[in-house]
């Protein structure tokens, strides 16, 4: 049994919804693809690695002997941070799920957002033709007061949105 979430915290609610998307879309016939996530993790961990190397040589050696290495590392850190920022803003665009159908004909990208203090979960569905549907889900229509996600209701809602996206195409 999963832990209940506090339904008055939109950040926690959004996180639960984000985490439930792979399961829901699997039931709708999609398999998740991980390119974006893997790229982001790769850039992120290279930043962490640069910082870790800088930290350990700082502890291990005398400052004056390794100043030039530190300069290179600090430079690399800033370049990678800019790349990471660019990736998040212009490539990933808050996409939390990307997937395709089994036969590979259709792809889907889902980016989500929430606003502090509003009980709404904003979702944007984008297909491979860059057609998109934006909708807002009132979170009290899929959560119980005790804080459990009613997965079937959420699945119905996602299904409706995907249908809208399909109709838009024709």
């Amino acid at each position: 049994m999963s832990k209940p979430v506090n339904v008055y915290s939109i950040s926690q609610v959004s996180q639960v919804l984000n985490e439930s998307l792979p399961g829901v879309l699997a039931r709708l016939g999609y398999t998740e693809t991980f390119e974006l996530v893997d790229q982001k993790l790769l850039i992120g961990y290279s930043i962490a690695l640069v910082a870790a190397v800088s930290f350990f040589i700082d502890k291990r050696f005398v400052h004056d002997d390794i100043v030039h290495y530190q300069q290179v590392l600090v430079g690399a850190y800033f370049v990678l941070s800019v790349i990471f920022w660019y990736f998040k803003k212009y490539v990933e665009k808050s996409v939390v799920y990307s997937g395709k159908t089994k036969n590979g004909n259709a792809t889907i990208k889902i980016s989500t957002a929430y606003e502090e203090g509003k009980p709404q979960y904003s979702v944007m569905f984008t297909d491979k033709d860059k057609k998109r549907v934006e909708s807002k889900l009132e979170i009290n229509t899929v959560f119980s007061a005790e804080g459990y996600l009613q997965t079937d209701l959420f699945l119905e809602w996602v299904k409706q949105q995907l249908a809208t996206l399909d109709n838009k195409k024709q």
Binding site: N6, Y8, S9, I10, E116, G117
Partner: protein
């Protein structure tokens, strides 16, 4: 904002952010105050009646090395200045110090040494009228002797703020140059 701890954190974080702005405002207002008063450029002091007294000391803590005694110089001096303008709400203390600059042309060195200093805790103590005051320090040169050199005296000040950058300056006044006499020959 939904839970007690989050609201507490939010109030704390926002208070911290605004607090940083407040600190910037304090530092800024202090700089504006100083530049309006023009005090940073125009603080004045008169240093006069400087009489050097030269003697020989044999302690390592007075510059002597390997048993060779070292020439030590003290001075008596008069000093009149009003530095109360250096105090505003961001001034924690002012440190004033009387220094002498001199060149050693044989060795090609530039030197500056402190003869006297004082901590001024507030504006009331910033009006200094000293007559026939003794130097606080017994000064020796890195080289063999300080005698026969021309010492150019200056009064410096350093503002220690409650928060922010430290500020330094030199009080304006007549250019006081004093030649240090040779020590009295030992009998």
């Amino acid at each position: 904002m939904f839970s007690l701890s989050q609201r507490l954190q939010f109030v704390g974080n926002y208070a911290m952010t605004v607090g940083v702005v407040l600190i910037v405002l304090i530092i800024g207002s202090s700089h504006v105050d100083f530049s309006l008063k023009g005090i940073l450029r125009n603080s004045e002091a008169s240093i006069s009646n400087i009489r050097p007294i030269v003697g020989l000391r044999t302690s390592r803590f007075y510059g002597a090395a390997n048993g060779h005694p070292k020439e030590n110089t003290r001075i008596a001096f008069d000093l009149n200045t009003d530095l109360s303008g250096l105090f505003n709400w961001n001034t924690k203390q002012v440190f004033v110090y009387l220094t002498a600059e001199y060149n050693n042309t044989d060795k090609g060195t530039v030197n500056e040494v402190t003869f006297w200093d004082a901590i001024l805790p507030d504006a009331e103590h910033a009006v200094i009228n000293l007559e026939n005051a003794r130097s606080k320090y017994s000064v020796w040169d890195y080289a063999d002797h300080l005698s026969e050199r021309d010492l150019r005296f200056k009064l410096h000040w350093n503002i220690q703020p409650h928060v922010g950058p430290l500020m330094y300056g030199v009080a304006q006044g007549d250019d006081i140059v004093v030649n240090v006499p040779k020590p009295a020959p030992k009998n």
